[in-house]
């Protein structure tokens, strides 16, 4: 039984990590006032780039780097359109998702059915061998730890440093931030690209660690769930960690129930994360006090300085 519980917990961690990465990146972008609905597209491109780079070089770590760079590059396109050309953020984000999914499908065509390169789990002699807790705490792949470190770093930078104050100022009142001499567009460019890099990483995690292979549409809406998680977490980094792990658990529970042969159609279990996302959004948006305090006031609004 504990063997089984252990394997479930390990799967939950793997299922939660991409959600955590993608939503943490989006949180930073949204804190600076930009809503990027292209997370799903950036994840898909990250997944295919990571898979391809790892396959060509044989190194999963180069795959991780490629995924990160690809996500950031795609977000730069979004940033140019929404920040320099002040296009509608909602529409441009959708365009990014459509383009990203298309690009990934095209680029990944030759990868279908090829065995991928797996991102190995680390092994610390002694510590990883502790029964039960060892594999959970000291036996994950590096991105699991990286995701948690990024979460801690994001929380620290946003709320304990001047840079974070500037980011939040730009997101809450771009006019004032501009008047104080900060470059609204500059800050937003960086935050959007951080979001892109994180989404790319999240995609890379899917194709390098979660299921080391390339399947079209393998992101399966995780980018959208990541967007919902930001609302769920009311724009607070630590709540994102909790939310990502909660959603990872829900996803895995579906599969676990199925494995036990409980007579529920597999489609119903697959639909569970989406349905739960909707329910969570409803509960959160019903609670005005909780969300309004942290919602960046300029979220989604374009900014063109008067001249």
């Amino acid at each position: 039984m504990s063997e089984q519980l252990l394997s479930i917990i390990l799967t939950i961690i793997t299922a939660s990590t991409p959600l955590l990465l993608a939503s943490m990146g989006e949180l930073v972008a949204e804190r600076s006032g930009v809503i990027n609905l292209g997370v799903e597209g950036m994840m898909a491109v990250g997944a295919v780039s990571g898979f391809g780079a790892a396959l060509l070089t044989g190194s999963p770590y180069l795959g991780v780097v490629a995924a990160l760079v690809a996500g950031a590059a795609l977000s730069l396109l979004f940033a140019f359109l929404t920040l320099t050309m002040v296009s509608n953020q909602v529409a441009t984000g959708l365009a990014l998702t459509l383009l990203g999914l298309g690009l990934a499908g095209l680029a990944g065509e030759s990868f279908v059915g090829q065995p991928g390169v797996q991102l190995q789990k680390i092994h610390v002699p002694g510590l990883s061998d502790i029964p039960f807790l060892g594999p959970i705490l000291f036996g994950q792949d590096l991105l699991v730890y990286a995701a948690l470190i990024i979460a801690a770093g994001t929380s620290h930078v946003l709320f304990r440093t001047k840079a974070g104050l500037v980011i939040r100022a730009v997101g809450d009142s771009h006019q004032s931030a501009h008047a104080l001499g900060y470059s609204v567009a500059g800050v937003r460019y960086l935050c959007v690209m951080f979001g892109g890099a994180c989404a790319g990483l999240a995609g890379g995690y899917l194709s390098l660690a979660y299921t080391p292979q390339w399947v079209e549409n393998m992101t399966a809406g995780r980018g959208w769930i990541a967007l919902a998680l930001v609302v769920f977490a009311s724009w607070l980094p630590w709540r994102i960690v909790a939310g990502a792990y909660l959603f990872g658990t829900i996803t895995v529970m579906g599969f676990a129930l199925q494995a036990h042969g409980i007579g529920i159609p597999s489609q119903l279990l697959s639909a569970l994360p989406y349905v739960v996302t909707i329910l969570v959004l409803v509960v959160m948006s019903g609670n005005k006090a909780l969300t309004r305090a942290n919602t960046p006031a300029c979220l989604g609004q374009p900014f063109v300085p008067d001249r």
């Binding site: 298309g102 697959s270 989406y274 019903g286």
Partner: protein, 368 residues
């Protein structure tokens, strides 16, 4: 040197007309570059992609088949987006319409009369409306983000369809394939000759007629009625809309029921004609491509009709390029994505002028 935007005194009517055309030209140039990079003759490839689909009467027929759902959905979305009601889940409403309409052929295959046809179409519309009413209700009642809910529901209904055709609705004589019985007789859309036979045999089905009628009706709604004005005001100036006493809740309901109903109609028409039965993958992403249609058509129903043809060409071109050039039909989706990017970028030029500012210019500016 940096790129800066300068607000125009008033929005440029010339750019408003030109922007979709510039966007298409830029997409073609980008496409040519992509083809050249893959070692193909760009002009020949572009010809196969974008001209050949218009060359034969058979391909014109196919073009209309593909443009029909795009125009139906795109026109509804155009109006929703104009009023800032972001229905992103048309793909799901399309599927919901197809499922609800298919109840008749699945359970009552012998119900055959013109009324059956009408009933199925109405069920299709009702299915799309009912499914779109979920995000609309949640938006109005709880303020839930309609973009995320409508999109999540796409996945849910696609899984429902998958379950239905693999489980309870599967055709018992279908050799275990995941599909329902084939629709027949009055449970399929009649088709007719579009042009006199001497010109060329171009068959279209009733769905195309619905698409044209819907577009015309919506064009009248937006251009000639108070409702259309109300919707535009709420999108352009939400505050002014509130002061004028336009109820936001009603607008959200209206937009979602309208766009959802049209998507549902597109869905039932598709399974009653081209597909002919219910199966997984009844749509090559029409509901998402229609988002591009709405924007390319400048959020105007008549524009959406024209744009539907432009995007239908990209679908057909993708298919013929796969045969003739051996390039993946997935290229089409990349073109569609690039096109939307260019449209959005070009739309900026309606309100702003682009200026390149050299370092000297910015120095002068800081001194003043």
């Amino acid at each position: 040197m940096r790129l800066v935007l300068e607000k125009r005194a008033e929005h440029s009517a010339k750019m408003a007309l030109l922007s979709p055309i510039i966007a298409i030209v830029l997409t073609l140039i980008t496409g040519g570059i992509i083809f050249a990079l893959r070692g193909l003759d760009p002009l020949a490839a572009l010809y196969v992609y974008f001209v050949e689909p218009l060359a034969t009467s058979w391909s014109i027929e196919q073009l209309i088949v593909k443009a029909t759902p795009l125009a139906l959905i795109g026109a509804g979305l155009a109006i929703s987006y104009r009023a800032s009601a972001w229905n992103i889940g048309a793909e799901g409403q399309f599927t919901a319409g197809a499922i609800l309409g298919a109840v008749i052929p699945v359970f009552l295959p012998d119900l055959q009369s013109p009324l059956t046809l009408l009933l199925m179409l109405l069920l299709g519309i009702a299915g799309g409306m009912a499914y779109a009413s979920i995000p609309a209700f949640l938006k109005n009642r709880f303020g839930t983000n309609e973009i995320l809910t409508s999109l999540m529901l796409v996945y849910v209904v696609q899984l429902l369809l998958d379950w239905l055709v693999r489980g309870p609705w599967r055709d018992p004589q279908g050799y275990n394939f995941p599909k329902t019985v084939a629709f027949s007789g009055w449970q399929t859309l009649p088709s007719f000759q579009l042009l006199p036979p001497s010109v060329g045999p171009v068959y279209v089905n009733l769905g195309a007629v619905f698409a044209v009628l819907a577009v015309l009706a919506l064009a009248v709604l937006m251009g000639r009625t108070l409702k259309g004005f109300e919707l535009s005001v709420q999108g352009l100036a939400p505050r002014a809309g509130r002061f004028s006493g336009f109820a936001r809740n009603r607008t959200v309901w209206f937009c979602f029921l309208l766009s959802g109903g049209l998507a549902g109609l597109a869905g039932i028409c598709e399974v009653m004609s081209t597909v002919g039965q219910l199966q997984p993958g009844i749509s090559p992403g029409y509901g998402f491509t229609a988002i591009i249609v709405a924007f390319l058509g400048r959020l105007n129903p008549l524009g959406a009709l024209v744009a539907a043809f432009a995007l239908a060409i990209s679908y057909l071109g993708g298919e013929s390029a796969q045969v003739a050039l051996g390039i993946s039909d997935k290229t089409a989706r990349v073109f569609q994505g690039i096109l939307l990017f260019y449209i959005l970028a070009c739309d900026t030029l309606i309100l702003y002028r682009l200026r390149f500012q050299g370092p000297a210019a910015s120095l002068v500016e800081t001194r003043t």
